[in-house]
């Protein structure tokens, strides 16, 4: 074993100080064993570098999302979402209720003595006991706004019998 054999690889890598590198270089020219060894190290280094550079998948586009499993999972998720929607949506579909009949109440048979009626569009309803609110009453076919007007603001005191109320029913035109 030559004394320079431990410095051959560092010499090939250019890692030796200049003075020492000159000595090793001079020795390698003289020593057949070190020359053969250095050629072998150079060859194995080149083979390692070649394998390293050619076998690494660098610069290849990302394979995320390209596997068949991912596509199957995506298709399965979409199908499941459609199935769930088909099962659950009818339960949440708003029920279309028939329009509630407008109360047909005969006009009261009293006469206005002092002032004629001015609010002809106002329907007069008899007072009712408060009805329990049914859930389906909140869903109307067409939007309706009812405004309650106090009788005292419309008629002089005493013109309207106590207990009557007036409701303005507003329906927007289609």
């Amino acid at each position: 074993m030559c004394n320079f054999s431990g410095r051959l690889i560092a010499w090939l890598d250019g890692e030796l100080p200049e003075s020492e590198a000159i000595n090793v270089e001079w020795h390698v020219r003289q020593c057949a064993e070190c020359r053969r060894a250095s050629n072998g190290y150079r060859e194995i280094s080149a083979a390692f570098l070649d394998c390293y550079l050619t076998a690494m998948p660098v610069g290849r586009p990302s394979r995320r999302g390209t596997s068949h499993k991912r596509w199957f999972a995506l298709a399965g998720s979409v199908a499941a979402a459609i199935l769930i929607a088909a099962v659950l949506l009818p339960r949440f579909r708003p029920q279309v209720l028939p329009a509630l009949p407008v109360a047909t109440v005969p006009a009261p048979s009293f006469a206005f003595e002092k002032t004629p009626p001015r609010m002809l569009a106002v329907r007069v309803r008899h007072p009712r006991a408060p009805q329990p609110i049914r859930e389906q009453q909140w869903i109307a076919v067409e939007p309706t706004v009812e405004i309650a007007l106090p009788a005292d603001a419309l008629f002089p005191p005493g013109a309207v019998p106590p207990g009557f109320s007036y409701i303005a029913d507003i329906r927007p035109q289609p």
Binding site: A10, G14, Y41, A55, P57, G59, S62
Partner: protein, 179 residues
């Protein structure tokens, strides 16, 4: 193996400002970093993530007034440490990436020569697998053109230790491959 360092004479003071030099630096070191990380056993996607994190860390490092000496070994060290955190996948397929593609061996070669080359590559791949982790890492960083001093900075080893490790690893490979 030339052992030449990749010159990085870049005005890094402007890197923190996100200037064009950042793009140059990224383009110059991205592939070597990716190749090194994949050779350690990481998937290409994992390697991409780690490289991006490493450059983000570099940006923060420089923005905080950190040292601009030897940015390349700094990046390799950060990437190496992050790869170490993937311990579950660290050893799983080092031997596979170094198996060269068969098509590369068949170019410009007779069938006999291609067969011999393929056998030599197979033996080299098997020999690489028998190396210790530190020996393999030293050779991989050396293949990226890092100097012994830089390899020592990446792996936390003394330069003389790196020289001994590289020497030992190359001799092992040569002995296994009958070179």
């Amino acid at each position: 193996m030339s052992g030449e360092s990749v010159p990085l004479a870049l005005p890094l003071a402007r890197f923190a400002a996100g200037d064009r030099e950042a793009t140059i630096l990224f383009g110059e070191l991205r592939k070597p970093l990716l190749r090194y990380l994949v050779s350690l056993g990481l998937s290409p996607d994992e390697a991409q993530d780690i490289v991006q994190d490493a450059f983000l860390s570099l940006h923060r490092h420089l923005a905080a007034g950190g040292s601009q000496d030897n940015i390349r070994s700094w990046l390799f060290r950060v990437a190496h440490n992050q790869a170490r955190n993937h311990q579950s996948s660290y050893h799983r397929r080092f031997a596979d990436p170094l198996e060269p593609a068969a098509s590369l061996l068949l170019d410009n070669a007779t069938p006999e020569h291609a067969l011999l080359e393929k056998e030599k590559r197979r033996r080299l791949g098997a020999a690489i697998w028998t190396l210790a982790d530190s020996e393999r890492e030293c050779l991989l960083l050396r293949a990226n053109g890092l100097r012994y001093r830089e390899i020592g900075e990446v792996l936390g080893l003394a330069t003389s230790t790196v020289a001994d490790t590289v020497d030992r690893a190359i001799k092992k490979l040569a002995e296994k491959c009958n070179v």
